[in-house]
């Protein structure tokens, strides 16, 4: 019976090609607009580290106080003094501090000019906390942090450029005139959004070139090239005074496995702030936060407003297309009231009529979905025109998107057909036969 309905459906689709084409186009355009914008939204709003996102937290301390902080909220990063105090306190299982640096590298051939490379100064826990995958070697230990060793981890891409992809562990690399020992090379690792630098960076972009041992970077006065924010009159003069200033630029992350650890760490932040208040460094009551990864990304508004607006507008567009389809299906089905009357008179039940027209709608949905797939594929190649390059490059067509496009198109069309099909099933055979 089902195949018979499909045959009937296809025949009926051919009967009103204009109407059918209109419905197919409405579904196709609607679903593809939604899918293109969704693919971008999916990429920018996803969980970058699903296995651990609820165990990684940002300790925030209000080091600026009322009137200077961000509308009552503590600033999004730490100044050097507080960052180092948290490091020394060892109150979490793991902790890292991060800041962005830009260094020069000199490729091996003597004639070449230096090239810019970008990376992060981090502590050894960075690699274990964020499950950074390694191609060669590994990260460094906390003992290396304490020894202020000249260690560096290269990214796969950078290792490819500098060493042609060979195992470079143990080799020396010169960055901005200083030598570093390569201890590891990561696999391709570029969490998106880049949650660990969401305060400092845009959250998206090419993977970093290297990860440098933080204490070493500090010893060499390697300046922060990421975001930096200060309050009040700036009076520091030189690196050492800068470190003592109220400028925030170090991004802290802690790993806490259980809710009791989280509660304990929050208490620690409170008591640290209270100590600072007693010591006269803070002239205000403790004001701390401890958001996890997804809360942090939300607070930092990492999803560009363009992505949200375009998704909302595209989905509304799809809804209008569906309303349009309901109307057209109604017109199409009711035009065949006479035919329905004959079928009903010959013994077809309402249920059968209903099923037949839903199948017909599903055929429209499937065709619309296929058109939508085509339009989505075309749209994907033009997505660079619609979004900034670093965001556009995240959107891609994969199996799940293809499946979703078809499923959404069919389900939406069948849902749109519920009412028109019900109306078709309500046709009174006697009436139709009489008027004929």
């Amino acid at each position: 019976m089902f195949t018979y309905y499909i045959q009937l459906g296809l025949r009926s689709l051919k009967r009103n090609p204009a109407l059918t084409a209109l419905m197919v186009m409405a579904i196709g355009f609607g679903v593809s607009a939604s899918m293109i914008t969704y693919s971008v939204f999916r990429a920018v709003s996803g969980n970058p580290i699903p296995e651990k996102s609820s165990q990684l937290f940002v300790p925030e301390i209000d080091s600026w106080g009322p009137g200077l902080n961000e509308k009552g909220e503590p600033p999004g990063a730490l100044n050097y003094v507080d960052a180092m105090a948290l490091m020394r306190a060892h109150q979490s299982k793991r902790m890292t501090l991060i800041y962005q640096i830009g260094l020069s590298t000199l490729p091996r051939d003597a004639d070449s000019v230096p090239v810019a490379s970008n990376g992060y100064a981090v502590t050894g826990d960075f690699f274990t906390m964020f499950d950074v995958p390694f191609l060669y070697g590994s990260g460094w230990s906390t003992a290396d942090d304490d020894a202020r060793a000249a260690d560096v981890v290269l990214s796969r891409e950078f290792n490819q450029r500098m060493f042609g992809g060979a195992n470079s562990v143990g080799q020396k690399i010169t960055l901005s005139g200083h030598d570093y020992r390569i201890v590891g090379v990561t696999k391709r690792w570029n969490p998106s959004p880049r949650f660990y630098d969401a305060w400092g960076g845009s959250g998206f972009g090419d993977p970093p070139d290297f990860y440098l041992l933080l204490n070493r970077a500090l010893d060499l006065h390697t300046d922060n090239v990421g975001r930096n924010s200060c309050r009040g009159a700036i009076t520091y003069n030189g690196w050492d005074q800068y470190l003592q200033s109220n400028c925030i630029w170090l991004m802290p992350w802690v790993e806490l496995d259980t809710t009791s650890e989280v509660a304990r760490y929050r208490n620690f932040l409170e008591s640290y702030s209270a100590d600072q208040q007693r010591a006269g460094r803070f002239g205000w009551a403790p004001n701390v936060r401890l958001p996890d990864v997804m809360t942090w990304l939300d607070v930092q508004h990492i999803v560009p407003p363009e992505s949200r607006i375009s998704l909302i507008v595209a989905m509304s567009f799809f809804i209008i297309c569906l309303v349009n389809t309901i109307g057209l299906l109604l017109a199409k089905f009711m035009r065949r009231a006479g035919e329905i009357g004959v079928r009903r008179a010959l013994g077809a039940t309402r249920h059968e009529i209903y099923a037949q027209y839903l199948v017909e709608a599903a055929a429209v949905g499937l065709t619309g979905g296929l058109l939508g797939l085509l339009l989505t594929a075309i749209g994907m190649s033009g997505v660079g025109l619609l979004f900034e390059p670093e965001i556009a490059q995240l959107a891609h067509m994969d199996l799940s998107l293809i499946g979703l496009t078809l499923v959404v198109a069919i389900f939406a069309t069948v849902a749109a057909a519920f009412y028109p099909a019900w109306r078709a099933a309500q046709v009174q055979p006697a009436w139709q036969l009489k008027s004929n």
Binding site: A116, I309, N324
Partner: protein
């Protein structure tokens, strides 16, 4: 034209009527907001930078070696000479940032040293005595910097500038009721800064939404950033010589000192490229919203045509009866046109509410500005015309139904 019989007929086609009205309502809501977004984005893209964009290019110069402040100063001065000697180059300056780069470098502005809530959050440009001239800024009051006023700023050093040139927008914000020239303010500095010059327009370094309250509020201090990281060179060329000078500049710089890095991707940009990059997402939004608007209007029109054609087909006999009873072509045309007008008006009434509702949501969650009434009025007119245009062809077909149809069975 009697409306009563049309309303009576519509009551018998509740579903179709409701669907068309709903579609018009939703379309109005989306189209108004989309048009508003397009207009906002286009206005943003057109924001003036205040600089001579046609003849400017920028070199992002990073040092390949760790220079001390003194070394960096010497290198910068040498580079500026090299660039100035290039054929076609009119002027050269160095800075920590440039307008519409896309990234801000700003300082809080206060009128007293202990004021907590800042009066402005102004873009903070470090320029030399050539900055105003090179960028082609219009000095509308006061004077330019003198070479001896320019101080060098090394790694995380703070120089305390005593003078500044500010934009007119900043002058108006700081001193709304009086002439800013000669007045003082604080830019996170321990000592007051005196306004010695005012330029007409100078855009901020960023083009973000957060800085919209401070749009155009910029200041220049006589400082040369000489830190180990790098510096921007801004080069003004003689008319028509931009491309040639852009090709020659990196070569000349590398020939003079190769321990530098000019990123192949974005180290060398004409100001046209700068503007293009700065407003990429705005342009994208405008394109996307335009596509959606056009397709949406087309689909809505097609939907109206489809349903009206169905109604015409359904009512052939009634039309025939009316024609037989003396109704003219015109009467039949008018009937369907008026019917569409009534449905449209109903839909638009709901649509106005939906349009403001959607705008309110976007306003609260995504900082879209409040939708002006003109957009809703404009959208209403567009959709009324669209409805009337869409219904025209089916109505015309209806009017051609011959009276003989009255005698045929349906």
């Amino acid at each position: 034209m009697h409306i009563q019989p049309i309303l009576a007929a519509l009551r018998r086609h509740k579903a179709g009527t409701v669907l068309i009205a709903l579609q018009i309502a939703l379309t109005l809501a989306i189209v108004c907001n989309a048009l508003f977004i397009i207009n906002q984005r286009l206005a943003h893209i057109d924001e003036p930078s205040g600089v001579d964009e046609a003849n400017l290019f920028v070199i992002a110069n990073q040092w390949g070696e760790q220079y001390s402040t003194q070394e960096a100063v010497e290198r910068i001065e040498q580079d500026l000479v090299t660039l100035r000697q290039l054929p076609g180059v009119q002027d050269v300056t160095s800075s920590n940032n440039y307008p519409i780069r896309g990234i801000s470098n700003d300082n809080f502005i206060t009128m007293t040293p202990d004021q907590r809530a800042p009066t402005s959050d102004a873009a903070y440009y470090m320029g030399d005595a050539n900055f105003v001239r090179t960028l082609g800024l219009k000095l509308i009051a006061g004077r330019d910097f003198r070479p001896e006023e320019v101080q060098n700023q090394g790694l995380r050093q703070t120089v305390d500038p005593s003078v500044a040139i500010i934009s007119k927008a900043m002058a108006t914000k700081l001193f709304p009721n009086s002439d800013a020239l000669g007045k003082h303010f604080y830019a996170m500095t321990p000592n007051p800064i005196t306004v010695i010059g005012i330029v007409d327009v100078l855009h901020r370094g960023d083009v973000s939404t957060w800085s919209a309250p401070y749009i155009g509020e910029s200041m220049i201090v006589p400082v040369r950033p000489a830190d180990p990281y790098g510096i921007y060179y801004i080069v003004r060329t003689k008319p028509g010589q931009l491309a040639a000078a852009m090709r020659a500049a990196p070569k000349a710089l590398y020939a003079e000192n190769r321990m530098r890095m000019i990123d192949p991707k974005d180290g060398l940009l004409s100001f046209a490229q700068v503007r293009h990059r700065a407003f990429e997402s705005d342009r994208g939004m405008a394109i996307l919203m335009s596509i959606i608007c056009i397709v949406l209007l087309a689909i809505t029109a097609a939907g109206i045509i489809g349903l009206t054609s169905f109604w015409v087909g359904q009512r052939r006999r009634q039309i025939g009866v009316r024609r037989a009873l003396g109704a003219t072509h015109r009467d039949i045309m008018q009937y369907f046109m008026t019917e569409n007008l009534l449905i449209s008006l109903g839909g638009l009434a709901i649509g106005v509410v939906l349009a403001f509702g959607l705008n309110l949501w976007l306003h609260i969650h995504l900082e879209l500005k409040v939708l002006p009434l003109t957009y809703v009025l404009g959208g209403t007119v567009i959709l009324l015309l669209l409805g009337q245009g869409a219904v025209f062809a089916p109505a015309l077909r209806a009017s051609r139904v011959p009276p003989i149809e009255a005698t045929r069975p349906a």
